[in-house]
């Protein structure tokens, strides 16, 4: 494992765009990608002629970098890739392109598209029906999304946990979503409603998991030096990484004591000068609430199994949300439980908005450093430390 981080603070996020997220359907994936992309490029004070790198997340049903380049009227590009979904993979790919000189201004597009496999509305849409595979999976499966319910049961068993910390993660997101116009769901959630909720994959209920949505985020990255002459306060990528353990088949994982989350945290701690005592904002992924509990524990906010106590102690009962030490809010945009299954791109976008002071009604005064940890336990844990340029 390396402790080298020559890219530290050398690459900046300078443009943001987002379509917002919805369950309505009706737009093509290319139209959503282009809407987010044009907004991000404009936000960065650039034009299509400046963009020489395109990173488009390889999301099922979404447009690739070549279609987006053609659609935007990009002249020529020297970096064009489609990393696997979940936000930091694409962020890292773009940052490395800027840092190594592969391109000067890299556009990242991170679309999510409801498919016939996860949405009845999409299954009824003649323009999306074609993506159906025709093979029904067997129910007796503890891989992919189901694995989080399976390991949630193990967490509860090993630590004697109740559903209380799971509820707090869900309620925190919905509380914060009220001030986020991009959210697909922005109504508040009560402990009573959480407890009464329909179980989907017991022990997880409908509020413990995010929902499929349509939408796209876009980001523009360039060098920290170039960023100084662009309109917004640059937000620097201080440290970022992904991480897995070798034995990562979901139901064969050795245990919750060593997952990719630990690999990510160890790597960030080796390469970042900023850690949890120094941050102003925390964005742990909560597409499944169990993931958030272990991010709190594995990042070192509390020991393993103690997220229940920690979240109770750091709960603002008046505001109905988590505030670490009364100071650090968590998922200020309402997370994936409110925006939908955006695979952490919302967590990243919101961190940038906060750090450059464009978060509107959600703005945390004086926020200068954020820890963003998208991904789950198995094949996509990742993290990034972002900071405001000084």
């Amino acid at each position: 494992m390396t402790d080298r981080n020559p890219m530290k603070d050398q690459v900046a996020i300078v443009g943001l765009g987002s379509t917002g997220f919805s369950r309505e359907g009706g737009a093509s994936s290319l139209s959503m990608a282009l809407a987010a992309a044009t907004e991000a490029i404009t936000d960065a004070g650039l034009t299509a002629a400046d963009i020489d790198g395109i990173v488009a997340t390889n999301e099922p049903g979404a447009s690739g970098p070549e279609a987006i380049a053609a659609g935007l009227g990009i002249t020529e590009a020297t970096h064009h890739t489609k990393p696997t979904p979940v936000a930091v993979f694409s962020l890292l790919d773009a940052a490395r392109a800027v840092f190594t000189g592969a391109a000067d201004h890299v556009l990242v597009v991170t679309p999510v598209v409801m498919g016939p496999w996860n949405s009845r509305r999409a299954a009824a849409d003649p323009w999306r029906r074609g993506a159906r595979s025709g093979i029904l999976p067997v129910p007796e499966d503890a891989t992919m999304a189901a694995a989080y319910a399976a390991w949630a049961s193990r967490y509860i068993h090993e630590f004697g946990a109740t559903k209380d910390p799971f509820a707090r993660v869900a309620i925190n997101s919905r509380t914060n979503a009220a001030a986020n116009p991009l959210a697909a769901v922005d109504t508040p959630l009560s402990f009573g409603a959480y407890e009464a909720a329909r179980m989907i994959r017991e022990p997880l209920n409908i509020y413990d998991m995010d929902l499929p949505v349509d939408g796209a985020d876009a980001f523009v990255l360039t060098s920290a030096e170039r960023a100084r002459s662009l309109p917004h306060t640059p937000v620097l990528i201080h440290a970022a990484t992904s991480g897995i353990v070798g034995k990562n088949d979901e139901d064969q994982l050795d245990g919750l004591h060593r997952t990719g989350q630990h690999v990510v945290v160890d790597q960030l701690r080796r390469t970042s000068d900023i850690w949890i005592d120094d941050i102003d904002l925390f964005y742990p992924y909560e597409g499944f609430t169990i993931i958030t509990l272990t991010w709190f524990e594995n990042c070192g906010f509390c020991p393993p199994g103690e997220a229940e106590r920690f979240l109770r102690e750091h709960w603002n009962d008046d505001a109905q949300r988590i505030e670490i030490h009364g100071r650090i809010p968590v998922n200020t945009h309402g997370g994936s439980l409110s925006e939908g299954a955006t695979r952490g791109t919302g967590h990243l976008r919101e961190a940038v908005h906060q750090l450059r002071g464009t978060a509107g009604a959600r703005q945390v005064d004086g926020a200068r450093a954020a820890l963003v940890t998208p991904g789950g336990f198995f094949f996509n844990p990742q993290g990034a430390v972002l900071r405001t340029a000084t």
């Binding site: 067997v138 129910p139 007796e140 068993h157």
Partner: protein, 154 residues
């Protein structure tokens, strides 16, 4: 035993794939599924170092031997992960309105060697919990043998 076992030798790849498509059958796991047709729970094992490997892989990750074989496991173990599905893909005999248990069983052969399935119809509700000792039992779904777990005889 039922008639399925006699068909095994004639089971072409196409038929095998069609039968187990929903289980995500691959070239590397085909022999595991052929074993199911004979009601034998086969798992991949390295013939050189003896390590079990599930899901099946063509090479042993412990010693890089390509000498992977399929061996029958005892089918005995303990429930390690547990969920109860209240919705999911339609399947014969599965009633989500009463909750469909899915258990991941840690087998006695090796630490963290696990197999995921459901439990027998007569599984005692009070024992459906992580830590319960179980053993494999064979049922049929759509005419194909399927390994599930019953409470272990004590």
């Amino acid at each position: 035993m039922n008639g399925n076992s006699e068909e095994t030798d004639e089971e072409t790849d196409d038929v095998l794939i069609a039968r187990f498509a929903g289980n995500g059958i691959t070239r590397d796991s085909a022999d595991h599924f052929r074993g199911r047709l004979d009601r034998r729970l086969l798992m991949a094992r390295c013939a050189d170092c003896g390590r079990w490997q599930h899901p099946p892989r063509p090479m042993c990750p412990a010693c890089w031997s390509w000498n992977m074989t399929m061996d029958e496991v005892s089918g005995r173990g303990t429930i390690h992960l547990l969920m109860v599905l209240h919705q999911g893909p339609p399947a014969t005999g599965v009633d989500y309105s009463t909750g469909h248990p899915v258990v991941t069983v840690e087998l006695e052969e090796q630490r963290a060697l696990r197999f995921t399935s459901t439990v027998s119809d007569d599984f005692p509700a009070e024992d459906l919990a992580i830590g319960t000792a179980v053993e494999v039992e064979w049922i049929e779904r759509d005419g194909t043998p399927m390994p599930v777990f019953r409470k272990a005889a004590s």
